[in-house]
Symmetry: C2
Subunit: 229 residues, 2 copies
Amino acid sequence: MHEIGQRIVSGKVKPGDVLPREETLAESLQVSRTALREALKVLSAKGLIESRTGVGARVLEKRHWNQLDADVLAWRCASMPTDDFVDKLVEMREVIEPAAVAAAARRRTAEHLAEIDSAYRAMDAAQTLDEWTAADLQFHDAVLHATGNELLQSLFSVIETALGTFFALSARTAANFKYSLPHHQKVLEAIRRRQPEVARKAMQALIADSQANLQQSRGRARARKKAGA
Amino acid sequence: MHEIGQRIVSGKVKPGDVLPREETLAESLQVSRTALREALKVLSAKGLIESRTGVGARVLEKRHWNQLDADVLAWRCASMPTDDFVDKLVEMREVIEPAAVAAAARRRTAEHLAEIDSAYRAMDAAQTLDEWTAADLQFHDAVLHATGNELLQSLFSVIETALGTFFALSARTAANFKYSLPHHQKVLEAIRRRQPEVARKAMQALIADSQANLQQSRGRARARKKAGA
DNA sequence: CCCGAGCTGTTTGTCATACAAATCGACTAT
DNA sequence: ATAGTCGATTTGTATGACAAACAGCTCGGG
């Protein structure tokens, strides 16, 4: 599934193309037709392909892809982490997270707050980059959970991918990986005090700061590339 | 797939439960194990279940469900179109659409505008409720498309479900089903003139109006229920 | 009495094969 | 020229068999 999914998402096969017939595809991937079909069925569920009897499996247009699917996002990141795509991930965060944190500040229960607080303390206590990353993800997930709207929470896969890409691109060191802790604290406090608009502003600042950091990394990356060339 | 998916989403089997083994399940559904396995694989991709060898297929917690999946949304609507769930759909629209229309007003191309305009004219020309519904969906899809962010466009399944549920609940008549046309016109004009904030406000008004209409329907439904009881 | 290692039964994961159903394209008869 | 039909191709489904992995039990040791 991953093999074929990546081929499609990376553009090796384009929308409109039809895949080879199942028998040959199965042979070329060294699996049985049964296993291949289960993979194709999942790709079909993700909106990447459509199988029709007598014709074959046709790659659908991007329009139909389930772009918010965790796998599809991961494949896109693996094949083309272009600036363009990262900008789109940032835009999604700008839409989702401020609205979500405002809702969370309005409706949070004591349990939700405890969850967010726990994640914050884990971020504060993090010793390694991996610990920090895990706690950071937990923080943003807890905020979405606190909205009480599971539809919003399902957008976590987007935030997860966005943060993951961010970490990958901005090669942070042990010295500075905690730089955004104060921003997170402001968000936490606004939720604690049930101040939706304060929370929204704090989250916007957090994302803006994160984006600025990303731009900086891009600048450094381009400079290195230029110097190397 | 739909049968088992509905059983899970409707709560007939709860998170933590394990499904019967594949052989008996296949027999009870009158299909082969092959076909059943393809269905389970898709449900697994949607995050509803997790299969482990030697144990069986366990229903995952709602936390892991891919709630934005078109099928999952449809199953929820089919089994429990409660006020609570409709409110969550409305909240999603309140988050997504104003932000999306603002982005669309900023970045739209001539082609995008033509698409939206075409949908608007179809709404204006609609003679039947079905025609109107199709054009309305096309309008909102075109707006998402105009953002140029395919991640945002993938949220169309949510808007689609929300509007579909809305139409189902509010049993509109031929006389009044076009009442929201002026709101759509304001949105269209703001996008044409590239006025992001005007567009945002217009979309907020459109959704608010739609929600008000929904509340009214609920009131009538409750009144009928009370009178009948 | 408690605990861990190994064994065994159960269930999913994969495979090979066969056939039914549906579709497309070419051919034929009107 | 066109409509209908036939056949080749490909997916959809079914069946039977075996490999792999896990849960719980049993048994031996401390």
